[in-house]
Symmetry: C2
Subunit: 207 residues, 2 copies
């Protein structure tokens, strides 16, 4: 089923995967021909036929951009993790990703959202654990009750957000802990974004 691809076929397949990943749109034959400098689409067609025969793609006849990737790996798209969040330590957001997670393709991330990997168990009151990936959207205004990722005195916290008249309160999920009360003008406090979701890959737990 999964025969070996020639080096050119592999390059074309990679190009297709890349396009699907970044444009979210499979290329046309002309796109491929253009990229590789082919003077006509027939060449591309023949390559695609070969790649399909080897089982790496499925072509939907007559459909424009009807190239489907069939191998399992492509359903898990590597996404960059921009930093780690752990209470007690500064939230470190690196310019480059520190890691990539194989996220199952549920859909696309909200634009401009980023992922943070949770380290330590200080967030367990919110049922968030080491290795979990939190999806943070920096463009949402936090409304009361939402979970936010914030920096407080160089420590990162993920807690529920409540805006009071002159203060901001951060509530833990655990009612035994008193809420953190912060003056509205306190300089060392900054909201990073609203936590819109938590994702945990079960593969990580294997072994």
């Amino acid at each position: 089923m999964a025969k070996e691809l020639t080096s050119i076929q592999l390059k074309i397949l990679n190009f297709i995967v890349e396009r699907v990943k970044v444009d979210n749109l499979p290329p046309t034959l002309a796109d491929i021909a253009n990229f590789f400098g082919y003077k006509n689409r027939a060449t591309v067609q023949q390559h695609l036929s070969a790649i399909e025969k080897k089982g790496y793609i499925k072509r939907n006849a007559k459909l424009s951009r009807g190239i489907e990737l069939t191998f399992e790996d492509k359903f898990f798209v590597p996404k960059p993790v921009l930093g780690e969040v752990a209470a007690g330590n500064p939230l470190t957001i690196y310019p480059d990703s520190i890691d990539t997670v194989q996220l199952p393709t549920i859909a696309k991330m909200p634009r401009d959202s980023f992922l943070l990997k949770v380290k330590g168990d200080s967030l367990k009151d919110a049922y968030i654990f080491t290795g979990d990936i939190i999806i943070v959207n920096p463009n949402i205004d936090p409304s009361n009750g939402k979970f936010v990722a914030a920096i407080l005195d160089d420590a990162a916290v993920v807690k529920r957000f409540f805006r009071k008249s002159n203060t901001i309160e951060l509530h833990s999920e655990n009612p035994e802990y008193n809420p953190i009360v912060i003056d509205k003008n306190y300089p060392n406090f900054k909201i990073v974004g609203v936590v819109v979701g938590v994702y945990r890959s079960m593969d990580k737990m294997v072994g």
Copy 2:
């Protein structure tokens, strides 16, 4: 920026989202016209222009299938939840979805995977809680150590899977619990699928 869509425009937008979700391919104007019974593509084009003007999509001129979804809400694609899983009760997989979750578009779901909503706290040893959505892939052969969703004596369990010579063992995450040992030919045991991920929406926790 985000003006209100008319009901027809919303239907068309939803159709586009749906197509992107299931085919992984935005529709052509003809596709849309066909689905809604329009006799020509010009009508669709005018609707798309209106939707674009209101900021929900971006059109790539002259590009086939060049519809990009831009609006924030669309990144949360409603996904059907096929059933509930809770220890002690039978796993009920309904023909119709019992609920829809707004899943952030991280990627696409593995083909044929389905979602189950977790009820009860019997899975808390696996750090899975009420309201969490587990992503189950029924097409993966469970290898040792993977989390599986299974039916045992009409009760649904989510546990780690280990295949022994003549038995199957289901381990809890909590070492204090003894593993469940099942004879390989025991009739009332069936593996539903491998849990490939857990997603928890933080919105659900608000209020």
